[in-house]
């Protein structure tokens, strides 16, 4: 692919993110731009597990919060959790 590059784009990272980019750049002997570009646009360099984990973090927080609430009944908790567990899943039977 011989697509032209744009002018430099400024990216603000957290300290830990910068550390990860620097570690990989040093290990692979490539620029930080290459690390970020590949991380965003090259599926082979992304960890599918990390994407799945990150996708589930919000749902984890919702479930953890519901389970620890002391002002709703156990039955209501179970109903909500059952519903949350289906978020993101396509129920094909529903549309048949």
């Amino acid at each position: 692919m011989n697509e032209k590059y744009t002018e430099n784009v400024r990216v603000r990272l957290t300290v830990s993110q910068k550390k990860i980019v620097d570690t990989i750049a040093q290990r692979e002997n490539i620029s930080s731009s290459d690390v970020i570009r590949h991380g965003l646009f090259d599926g082979k360099s992304s960890s599918s597990y990390s994407i799945m984990i990150q996708n589930n973090l919000f749902k984890n927080e919702v479930i953890n919060t519901i389970q620890s609430m002391d002002d709703i009944s156990k039955n209501d908790k179970e109903k909500i959790i059952k519903k949350v567990n289906t978020i993101g899943q396509c129920n094909l039977k529903k549309y048949k």
Partner: protein, 168 residues
């Protein structure tokens, strides 16, 4: 001010191949009366005891670098109050501790009330699910413990490490 004890239980190392299986089964009491799963970092949804074990192993097995011989970190947060005084605020504090780890490491925890004082057991993977991220070693764990101290202060809890006050 509620007192809280942080007890780091890593003297035995958790180096054995079934360390993840044993620790997760232990903290959730899967052989007695299984406890609710609280976690961050699951691959399968919804998480189960077995899927959590599998997910911790999967991240270790696919990590290309930065894999520690010690597979998991285990620590306890114990509150110096009777079990009946536990509130959602204590659970929120427990969850905020897990959140400190969640952006780098898989973490799961459980709530126990089988002793005089309510407490939470944590199992944190030493292998980061982020490519190229460092392992969770004792130095990094010490940094996390500092964050836990700050968090406890923000909640108005007085945090001790094991030995300063016995209540686990």
């Amino acid at each position: 001010m509620d007192s809280v004890i942080l007890k780091n239980i890593n003297k035995d190392g958790y180096y054995n191949p079934d360390a993840i299986d044993k620790l997760i089964s232990y903290i959730y009491r899967t052989d007695k009366s299984p406890l609710l799963i609280y976690c961050y970092g699951c691959i399968e949804w919804p998480p189960t005891y077995n899927s959590l074990i599998k997910d911790f192993h999967s991240v270790r097995e696919t990590a290309q670098m930065n894999v520690s011989d010690q597979q998991v970190m285990h620590f306890i947060i114990s509150f110096g109050i009777p079990v009946q005084n536990i509130t959602s605020r204590h659970f929120q504090f427990a969850d905020d501790i897990a959140k400190l780890f969640r952006n780098e490491y898989q973490v799961c925890y459980s709530y126990h009330e089988d002793t005089r004082h309510p407490h939470f057991h944590y199992a944190v993977s030493t292998t980061s699910y982020l490519v190229g991220n460092p392992i969770l070693n004792n130095d990094r764990m010490a940094q996390y413990e500092s964050l836990i101290y700050s968090l406890a202060n923000a909640y108005g809890f007085k945090l001790h490490t094991e030995g300063e006050e016995e209540n686990v």
